[in-house]
């Protein structure tokens, strides 16, 4: 492209505001918006370093807490305070008869984790028969499909994903022996880790498989045990029928295609295969949790979403916490649900407003 056709090629435009930077870090911008931010990243070393740090685990979630430490807030003028008191008193006079008829106000519990410890068993085996017997919930009860949901891409701004050619379907119920690049169960580490990239498949957010940490899949997973006569899984696999293999990205792409079509059983069956081999895969945990909810398998949804919300790779922490709270509500555990909504509202995140609405 001739240089003359590009006005001021090295001059960044208006500096990105905080919201734009956060949207960039979360991969929610389209290509042109991404480029605008990246021009600033190229020109501004401070912004570059800051963005590197902001993509580290826990950084985004900590920003609302940081905001509360703002050093200076303009003091209220006495006449403003007096005016506010008059307004509050008037509102109280009008609303108090209504409020007295309602349940006590929800207790907001600031500075607490978004998801509290859940006393239930978190590793409930997901049986094929259960999935077969499950019934799709009515559309009005489904979750995870609204375009305004946090895990759904807001614009036509897919982060480029180098797609692997889609091989044939994995045969029968056998496990994928090797999913191309190791399809990663994220293994929590002691130190902080950097999750630098998100990808979107079928418009749904995923942690990039390259940014998850893998261990050799050949000795992992329930049902994936190695029989005594074999030295390890490699030896066992070598002695058995060959499996078809599939890369992680096309595998998830196919699963999410089904999810997009509201085929929650099909999606769950796919993800179940993945979780058998990689039981701690955060992408599978989250979307399997949504599927279980939409199939009325609420105990499974509760366990899966809790694990996604508290996962060492904090890609779905906010969304999963929100859906976990909804699951508690569906299970009739109203006290726990109300506490969960209270925590989400107090955190001031993406679902805070909806959590306030749900809280009574």
């Amino acid at each position: 492209m001739p240089i003359r056709s590009t006005p001021e090629p090295f001059a960044p435009g208006t500096p990105p505001d905080r919201d734009t930077l956060l949207a960039y870090a979360e991969g929610r911008l389209d290509d042109a918006q991404q480029h605008a931010v990246e021009q600033h990243l190229e020109a501004d070393p401070m912004l570059r370093e800051a963005m590197e740090g902001m993509t580290m685990p826990g950084a985004m979630g900590a920003l609302p807490k940081l905001d509360r430490m703002r050093p200076y807030t303009k003091p209220w003028a006495p006449w403003t305070l007096a005016g506010m008191l008059v307004i509050v008193a008037g509102a109280w006079l009008i609303l108090s008869p209504i409020l007295e008829r309602q349940e006590p106000a929800m207790t907001i519990l600031p500075e607490q984790p978004v998801v509290a410890d859940d006393p239930i068993e978190l590793n409930i085996p997901l049986e094929v028969t259960e999935i077969d017997a499950a019934v799709e919930q009515p559309e009005s009860l489904r979750i995870g499909h609204l375009t305004s949901d946090r895990h759904i891409q807001q614009a036509a701004s897919a982060t480029s994903v180098e797609r692997e050619p889609v091989p044939e379907r994995i045969i029968g119920g056998s496990m994928p022996k090797d999913l191309g690049k190791p399809p990663a169960p994220p293994i929590p580490e002691k130190g902080p880790r950097t999750v630098t990239r998100l990808i979107y498949l079928q418009g749904f957010k995923l942690a990039h498989p390259d940014d998850l940490r893998y261990k050799d899949p050949h000795n992992v997973g329930p049902g994936g045990s190695v029989r005594a006569r074999f030295e390890d899984r490699h030896a066992q696999d070598a002695a058995e029928d060959p499996h078809r293999t599939m890369g992680y990205v096309p595998f998830m792409d196919r699963a999410l295609t089904r999810f997009k079509r509201n085929d929650h059983k099909g999606t769950l069956e796919e993800l179940r295969h993945l979780m058998e081999q990689f039981p701690d895969d955060v992408n599978a945990l989250f979307y399997a949790g949504l599927c279980c909810y939409n199939l009325g398998m609420y105990q499974h949804a509760r366990a899966l979403l809790h694990r996604a919300a508290t996962h060492a790779v904090p890609v779905f922490d906010e969304e999963a916490a929100w859906y976990h709270a909804l699951t508690l509500e569906r299970l009739g555990e109203h006290t726990a649900a109300q506490e969960a909504f209270g925590r989400i509202a107090a955190q001031g995140g993406f679902y805070a407003a909806q959590a306030r609405t749900m809280a009574r």
Partner: protein, 190 residues
Amino acid sequence: MFLRRKHTADTSDEELVLRLCGGEREALGHLWDRYAHLLFGIGMKYLKDVERSKDTVVELFADLPGLLAKHHVDRFRPWVHTVMRNRCLLAFRSDRSTTQYDVERSEGEEDPTAGEAMLREATLERLEMAIAALNADQRACIQAFHLERLSYAQVAERTGQTIEQVRSHLQNGRRNLRLTLLRHADQKHT
């Protein structure tokens, strides 16, 4: 006026610094709004710890009035960047050694953004000449990113490189452009 609001969006950082030095504490809040999240990100990069990063930002802002009274700051942005980075490095190193140095020492440091001005002000002919002199990878990345306005991901897809390689070629390419333009300017003067 009940609804009167003071607009500070157009106020420069340096003006806010002047106001703060003049005792107007509200300016500190405005500087916080502009920089706290960026400084926190820098803290995360170096310290890799949410709580320590938050503490470092809060401490820096607590010290800011005193520091600004002590140092003459021409440009706030690079200065506060350097101060934050030095504090992080000091905290990072103090975990392992007792090395001390003046963490607020930043006067006279080169503004890292200054070199960008040369690129923006260069004539088109000189830029074209300088871009043509780059190696193939750097030229491809500079052209795609700066002239065609593609994102990192798009440039990476087109060139078959990783995003990190693209960023590296862009940075090295821009440095080489600056050097070429500088050499050209020197030759013209002599």
